[in-house]
Symmetry: C2
Subunit: 225 residues, 2 copies
DNA sequence: GTTTGAATCAAACGAACGTTTGAAACCGAG
DNA sequence: CTCGGTTTCAAACGTTCGTTTGATTCAAAC
């Protein structure tokens, strides 16, 4: 058959194809709304392959997340380390801290430039779906990063109480998660004003907004005035 | 039987009990993860009652949302009208615009003070679950409110482009949605720093953050400097 | 008392789900 | 070729899902 696609060119492992397909479908439809039959069909694999390679649907999700989150969090901490090393005793710049937190994740959008971002939407879904079993997964993957960035932000904004740092960090993550999940719908909901295909464009809008939010006066200061 | 609970005291309609139970369970576990059997059991109603009163699970969800969203959006617009009427020709105050947008929804938390907020979490879920059929539902219920508030914000912050207004309004909604969904988990994730049981406390942290974010300089200004 | 329409009920429907099984297919090592 | 372990496969498991059905209950209208 002449149209057989390059028999010498190897296609990825079944395991890898399952991760790719699951990532795509979980992101598009949500985790619970995606059946393993849909995943294995998209991966051109047998239904039982999921349980052979991963053990269960939940462990498949965990593997999908871990595959992408690990390098992202490593880069986050690497960027933060570089910031703190470069700034000596001075606290690192707020914009750069936020950029170190947000950019490594949003940049995933640009990996497959031609198609709508998949993993970023999945992360947004995981960040908002939690409550079932995903909650523990997220805590496990992000606890260290959150702690490091909370400390860095606390040094950069010493007038804020730890409670305020925690609140604003969560607001920050919420903004990112919501934006990631709805990037395909943002254009429609804003009547074409928000074009979220470009990661740099999103960052351009998001960083100043969040940085200004972080720099808002502490509620303690306001009460004292 | 002496323990028969007050036979003269009428309990709500089956229809109402279904709405209550669905609201609670949808909020706790998510929509797709909640079965109609669980809803009807919690409502002490027959399984077929859902289809008799609403027609389908999706229409039940729509009814649950509509029951709460209608008065909330009415109050939002009422507060906005009052702001714009009181400020005459001057643009309304930013903090008050944001408060008019956020407070009516977050206040729902306080309706049943003793129990964890239910509807607010459901709204957060609907705002993040969309992609299936919920998307159209949300657009239908919120299009007018979003448009009105975008116009008000544009008047209060005339230096921002319509695109920037749209982006920041979405960031604002994302912050609210994420906070609402995770209010039960926020305390744990922040190691006890965020106590989100009190709506006023949440607003106290959220309004300054978002107001400062909205007041961030336009990217146009920054490029010009 | 009879009728009528709304409301509730137990029971079942077919479909889809996550998971398990046991046998076939594959493939490098002996 | 034969063997042993890994991987794939078709088929079925038991469960749960949203939905439907047809009989039954009930309260007001006649």
């Amino acid at each position: 058959m002449p149209d057989t696609p390059l028999p010498t060119e190897e296609r990825p492992d079944t395991r890898e194809r399952l991760l790719d397909a699951a990532e795509q479908l979980f992101a598009e439809r949500g985790v619970t709304a995606t059946s393993l039959r849909a995943v294995t069909k998209a991966a051109d694999a047998n239904l039982a392959a999921v349980h052979y390679h991963f053990g269960s649907k939940e462990e498949l999700l965990s593997a999908v997340v871990a595959r992408r989150v690990r390098p992202i969090n490593e880069e986050r901490l690497r960027l933060l380390d570089r910031l703190q090393a470069g700034s000596g005793d001075r606290a690192a710049d707020l914009d750069e801290i936020l950029s170190a937190l947000l950019l490594p994740m949003i940049r995933e959008t640009g990996r497959n430039p031609e198609r709508v971002p998949t993993f970023t939407r999945l992360m947004g879904r995981v960040l908002t779906d939690m409550g079932t079993g995903t909650h523990a997964l997220v805590v496990h993957h992000f606890a260290e990063v959150l702690q490091r960035f909370a400390a860095a932000l606390s040094r950069a904004l010493p007038h804020l109480t730890p409670e305020e740092i925690a609140w604003r960090l969560h607001f920050c993550i919420g903004t990112m998660a919501f934006t990631l999940v709805h990037s395909p719908h943002l254009a429609e909901m804003s009547r074409g004003l928000c074009r979220s295909h470009d990661a740099d464009r999103v960052m351009e809008q998001m960083i100043p907004f969040l940085a200004a939010g972080f720099q808002a006066p502490s509620s303690i200061d306001e009460e004292a005035s």
